[in-house]
Symmetry: C2
Subunit: 335 residues, 2 copies
Amino acid sequence: MFHTAHAAPAQAPKTPTGPLTLSAQGSFFIGGRDVTSDTLSLTPKYDAHGTVTVDQMYVRYQIPQRAKRYPITLIHGCCLTGMTWETTPDGRMGWEEYFLRKGYATYVIDQSGRGRSATDISAINAVKLGKAPPSTLPDLFAAGHEAAWAIFRFGPRYPEAFKDTQFPVQAQAGLWQQMVPDWLASLPTPNPTVANLSKLAIKLGGTVLLSHSQSGIYPFQTAAMNTQGIAAIVSVEPGECPKPGDVQPLTGIPVLVVFGDHIEEFPRWAPRLKACHAFIDALNAAGGKGQLMSLPALGIHGNSHMMMQDKNNLQVADLILDWIARNARAPRRGR
Amino acid sequence: MFHTAHAAPAQAPKTPTGPLTLSAQGSFFIGGRDVTSDTLSLTPKYDAHGTVTVDQMYVRYQIPQRAKRYPITLIHGCCLTGMTWETTPDGRMGWEEYFLRKGYATYVIDQSGRGRSATDISAINAVKLGKAPPSTLPDLFAAGHEAAWAIFRFGPRYPEAFKDTQFPVQAQAGLWQQMVPDWLASLPTPNPTVANLSKLAIKLGGTVLLSHSQSGIYPFQTAAMNTQGIAAIVSVEPGECPKPGDVQPLTGIPVLVVFGDHIEEFPRWAPRLKACHAFIDALNAAGGKGQLMSLPALGIHGNSHMMMQDKNNLQVADLILDWIARNARAPRRGR
C-alpha cells in the first residue's frame, strides 16, 4: 500500500478480530481541588457541611503489548463523555480499541465536570434551601436531538439525513443515550481540563493529544501552558482553532486538524474551517509543522462531525494513525 | 488449599500479573426515555427547545477467553460510579480486573443519573430562567469527606482511622476524587437503574448481580420485577435488605450478603446487619438459599465499607468468587 501525505487508503480497513492482549489497564484521576460547603445535603439524614473534591479529571487507560512510543489521549467534545471513543452507536469498534489493536496505548478521559469527573452541586442546593438567589445557579446546557442533528451534520435539519452520510443514522438512539449535560460554563477559568491534560501529558512522558469539537482547542491551550509531554496534537473538527497570532508556543509540536464533509452547507461550520486554515498557514509560516486534512479533498465523502462513529470510522482512523506514525515526536520548545 | 463454606483462605492471594487476554470488550447503554424541554439552554447560542434522553444506564464490558458461564455485573453505591471497581485509590488491581483474570466476564455500570449516564438538568435551567420556583429544583446530595469517612467506617470519626483498618487511608485523596453528586432522589420511582438491570440480565442470558451499599437492594428489587437472567445475587454491605415478608420472589436465586468489620460500633450500620440476618433467615426458612458472610467471623479483620478497595480486597474477592462458583445457576422461579 502506497501512502503520500494526501493519498487516501484504497479502501476502508477490515475490523480487526481475534483476541486482544493487554500488558496493563486501569484508571485514575488527575487534579481536583477541595472545596468546603454548607449545602451538600437537603435532608438531615446526611451532613450538609463538609468538604468535596471537584474539577478532577477521570482517565482510563489500556496498554497493548509492545506498545508504540507515544500513547494517544482521547478527549471528547461537548455534551459527551469518554464513551465517544468506545463502541459506536451501531455496535462497531470505536477508535479506542482500534488504536489499541494498532499498537497504541490509549488514555480516555472524561472532561472535568462531566461523566465520572465530579460536578459541584452545592450552588444548586443553596438556591433550593433559599440561601442564594436563582441567578447563582450554574450555567448548564443539554443538546437536544434536533439541534445536535444539524451541529453534528447528519443532515441539513432533523430528521433529514444527507444521502451520503456516513453516520449510522438508523442507530441514532445509541448516540442520544451517550449525551450528557454540559457544565463547562459553570467551571472555573481557565478550564481545569486543560491543566489536567498538561499534568497527564507530563506524567506519561509524552502523548498525542487527540481532541474533538468543544475540546478541539484544549490541546493548543495545554501547549500554551506547557509544551512538555505533548508529542503531537490531532484536533478533529475543533469548535475553534488558535488565532494566527497565537502560534508561537506551537511551533515545536506537529499539528493535524481534520474536517469532514458538508462543511460549506452550515453557517456554524464554514467559518471554523476557514479559521483553521488560517491557523495552519500561520503555524507553518512561523516554522511549525501543521496540516489541515479535509476528508472530501481526499475523496472521502459523507463524514459527519462524529467521524469516530461514522461507518467508515476505521478508514479515517488509519489516516490519523499514518500521520501520527510519521509525525509524533519529543516536543521541541516553541520558538 | 482447603475451603469449606466458612473457612477463610489461609492468606491473601497474590495480585495476578502478566498479559491480560480478552476475547472482546465494549460498551453500550440500556434503557432511557425521551423527554421534551424548553429549558435545555440558557443562551441563544444553542436551542433551548428539544428532546433529550434520560434515565438510561451505561454499561462497559470485558470478556476473557474461555469465560465462565455467568458474567458478573458490578453495581456501585451512593456518590460513586463504576470507577469503584477499577483501580483502587492506591493503584492496586480492583475487583473488575481480578474477576476478569479469574475467568469471569465483567459488566460495569454507571447507575442511571450518575457518571456517564445522563442527568436531566432542564428543571435547574427552568428555575434560573425564572420559569419555575426554587422548590422545583432536583434533590441533590454530595457526600463530604468527613461524613463519608464514618459512613465508610475507616474510623470512628474523620480523620481518625481504626488501627486495623484495611482501607488505604494514606491514599484517601484518590477516593475523594472518585466521588460524584448523587441524583437518586430526583429520579423517577421506581429507580430506572432497577428496570435497566433487569433488561441487562435478560440480554446477557444470565448474570450474577453484585451490588454495593445504596445499590445493595437493587438486585432484590430487580428480582421482584423479574427473576429472569439473575444467576445469583451478591450484596456487599447493602444499605437495606428486603423485608422478611418479601422473600418469596427470591427463593429461586442464590443470595450472598457480605459485611465487613466494626459494624457494631456504628448506629448506622448495626441495625442494617441485624435486618440482613433476619432477611437471610426468612429466605432460608422459605426454601431459598441465602448466606450472610461476616468477614470478622471468618477471622478477617479491619474491612471497611469500601472492601473492594481495601488492602485485602483480593482476599475478599476470592471468598465471593468461591461462593459464586458453588452457587450461580439458572434461576428457578420464586415459589
